[in-house]
């Protein structure tokens, strides 16, 4: 294969020296942050505090403080759970699937996206646990363990599959992320200016020596982890969708759910990663590493998955009509034109219409435009989960048990708190750990690899 055909344009602009990459990536770790950082942290901690107050009240007085009531028993907690798990999917897609496809542009954003995956999954896991009502004994409800009743959990239940899927996803994502961090910790260790930093980085780097006899296994392990994480990430949202699809409820009981949920998860996750990265590259001066080209590629994926989600919305209507099942047809007419039509049309316009603007190259490459569109995508995807969960439950088979669901102020505080928790962790991460993979970025700088001219 001639090298001209495979010649890629550089993913890192301007051919920076390797030592300057060390400096710029480790700069936030070694300098005192600016006032802006503290203001941002204050904002997220306030949001987190609002959530903590709401959660304390919920634990003290019980979950009756939430809007959940018959027939809508799965309300905001499940909506928030599915939303945050979905956000997590972009990180693994970037770090694993794009790695398998040899997409070099992923190197600049992979570390941050993986971290966001971990934080999003942590945020998501809070909701089903507090939805059990007594979270301090949730492990007893969720895990198979030998108990005095000799009873085991029900392995026929998708809710239990979810427990295994989400905890495996979290563990494997964390390990994947940590394995990627090891060489960077070693680099930081060798740059450390104080004794305490040196001790911390020595422990976290495990004594990595950048040895090629190690790189050999390391690269293979990274490839294997990417290979394992790829089906894993697809399985997680598939299983989340089973929570709905395996039930008998009209509007939930459809086979399109798994692919539709996975596409939606990648869609919302990319929007969130894009939003956060726009700030990160500006604040920490990473514009030459996280380039506009990278952001444009992300926007293309948002456009693709948004269109897939739009296809799924339409196909649901077609199948409802084609199936000839009255209850199913009613569920969808009710979704679009019933009590919750306002939510449905927010969802539809944010997810299907607005991202179509990304067909224009100018909009794909203009930062304020893409930022606003991604914000709309996130709003739309939250409403998607709301529409699916609430409309089907509020009007099911039996008209006498229909009821209109509205959230309470405590529900709002928990949602705000979840954003607070997520962004607090993101901010602390950006300050405490290298936000960009030093070793991976070095490897894709122009001239970083041997030219091989001698051999040919």
């Amino acid at each position: 294969m001639s090298s001209e055909y495979t010649q890629e344009y550089s993913v890192v602009e301007g051919k920076p020296s390797l030592r300057s990459l060390d400096e710029i990536i480790s700069k936030p770790l070694n300098t005192k942050p600016e006032l802006k950082y503290y203001l941002a942290l204050l904002l997220t901690l306030t949001m987190l505090g609002i959530g903590a107050i709401g959660l304390s009240f919920s634990l003290y007085y019980g979950t009756g403080l939430w809007g959940n009531n018959n027939p809508v028993g799965w309300a905001w907690p499940i909506v928030n759970f599915v939303f945050w798990i979905g956000i997590g999917h972009a990180g693994t897609l970037i770090s694993a699937i794009l790695f398998l496809f040899r997409q070099k542009w992923r190197t600049g954003i992979a570390r941050f996206a993986e971290a966001m995956t971990i934080f999003a999954v942590m945020t998501a896991m809070i909701f089903p646990i507090i939805h059990t009502g007594r979270p301090w004994v949730a492990a007893v409800y969720l895990l198979p363990y030998p108990n005095q009743h000799s009873l085991w959990v029900n392995f026929n239940s998708p809710l239990l599959w979810d427990v295994f899927a989400v905890s495996t996803y979290f563990t494997v994502s964390f390990v994947f992320w940590y394995v990627g961090l090891i060489p960077d910790f070693a680099t930081l260790r060798d740059r450390a200016s104080t004794k305490i930093k040196k001790v911390i980085y020595s422990i976290t780097s495990l004594g990595w020596r950048h040895s090629n006899r190690h790189w050999r296994h390391y690269e293979m392990t990274y490839l294997i982890l990417a290979g394992l994480a790829t089906p894993l990430v697809l399985s997680v949202h598939t299983i989340v969708s089973f929570d709905f699809a395996v039930s008998q409820l009209p509007g939930w009981h459809t086979t399109i759910f798994p692919p539709y949920f996975v596409a939606g998860a990648v869609f919302s996750g990319f929007a969130m990663v894009q939003n956060v990265l726009i700030f990160v590259r500006k604040i920490f001066n990473y514009e030459h590493i996280i380039t506009v080209d990278t952001l444009e590629k992300m926007n293309k994926i948002i456009l693709l998955t948004g269109t897939m989600v739009g296809y799924a919305y339409s196909m649901e209507f077609f199948i409802a009509w084609y199936s000839g099942v009255n209850a199913e047809q009613f569920a969808f007419v009710n979704r679009a034109f019933g009590n919750y039509s306002w939510a449905y049309w927010i969802m539809f316009s944010c997810n299907v219409f607005i991202p179509q603007l990304f067909w224009f190259k100018k909009i794909r490459r203009t930062i304020p435009f893409m930022f606003v569109i991604a914000v709309f995508v996130n709003i739309g995807m939250w409403f998607e989960r709301f529409v699916i969960t609430v409309t089907s439950l509020s009007k099911d088979f039996l008209p006498s048990s229909w009821a209109y669901y509205s959230p309470t102020i405590v529900d709002f505080s928990l949602l705000i708190g979840s954003f607070g928790l997520f962004f607090t962790m993101v901010l602390l991460f950006a300050k405490a750990l290298p936000a960009i993979s030093i070793a991976e970025v070095k490897a894709v700088v122009d001239g970083a690899q041997p030219s091989h001219h001698e051999e040919h």
Binding site: N154, S202, L206, H210
Partner: protein, 379 residues
Amino acid sequence: MSEKKLYSYTALFDTPDKIIHAVKSVAEKGYTKYDVNTPYPLHGMDDAMNLKKSKIGWVTLVFGLLGTTAAVSMMGWMMAVDYPLVIGGKPFFPLPSFGPIMFELSVLFGALATVGVMLFVLFKFPNNSHPMHDTEYMKNVSSDKYGISIEAIDPKYNQDEIITLFKGLGAESTAPIYFDEEELNFKPTILDKKFLGFLAVVAVITSLSVYGTMNIALYLPPFNWMDDQGKSLPQQTSEVFERNSSMLQPVKGTVARGFIPYKFDKQPELAGKLLVNPLLPSEENLKIGKRKFDIYCSPCHGYLAEGDSRLRDKFPNPPSLHSEKVRNWTDGRIYHVLVEGQNVMPSYSKQLSRNERWAVINYVRVLQRSFNAKESDLL
């Protein structure tokens, strides 16, 4: 410096092409104990070092399959063997339902084992006492230089030759790496003061947190316990009801269900004269009588009413029921003993209903007759 023990001799290069070329030369010269340190993996370096493809994938395969097996045997045992339950009419061993968790555990086992084996078995990490740490060489290769290091234990090791070789290959700098004296002489001892102090701190923190969790935290609101409910239990004091008792007195004149007053209080002779056994000694009645006698009477009177108590020496022995006196009592007179008790024997009116008392008496009559059988009884 010269008494220090030598680990290896190193050279730094500043471009990827130079290091690849250098490694090829070193490998051609026949060195085996050498390593290359680069800030990121270099394409083509494995070929230059004659390293084969990593075989770590086998670890993933084996442990992944182990995860599949573990998942299916765990779920199969729990659902089909240990506690089979019918759930939605599905089979006890619902293989399709096991699919998701089989997949998840395969991935989990495979991923954790691969990383664990790589870090802790192949690399022998954590290892912060390697001689390369804290050297100028390490600081350079972890940033922007490409280094090669030939160990002193290599059979072909010759310092002067190596320096000449490195210089000839265009090395930017060369330097020896020594073992750290402190590391070499370090002898870990279990009675080290720091270690003991660490253990003490861990012990104190663990005890306090366990104590706090089990005895304080679990009793704070909103935790509540099923045995501590806002209701009165029998035998407890109560501030709500009169006499400070949670148990209420029945209304005056209350008659217990099924209770019929006994008219012959302390009048055994009258009872013996006026009370008549309403039951016939039918087979059915005798069966009831035998069962109740065996339960309530036999512990003291014996199964055959001979007065051979099973509570001998622990409780005064009652007289035999086959005595002349008892045989000559009327049924009503015995009935009076069952209702009121006699000497140490308490009343059995709570344990035996009226009909049961008469049935027991019929049974006692049968026992008496069988012990004093006449010839006519045999006919």
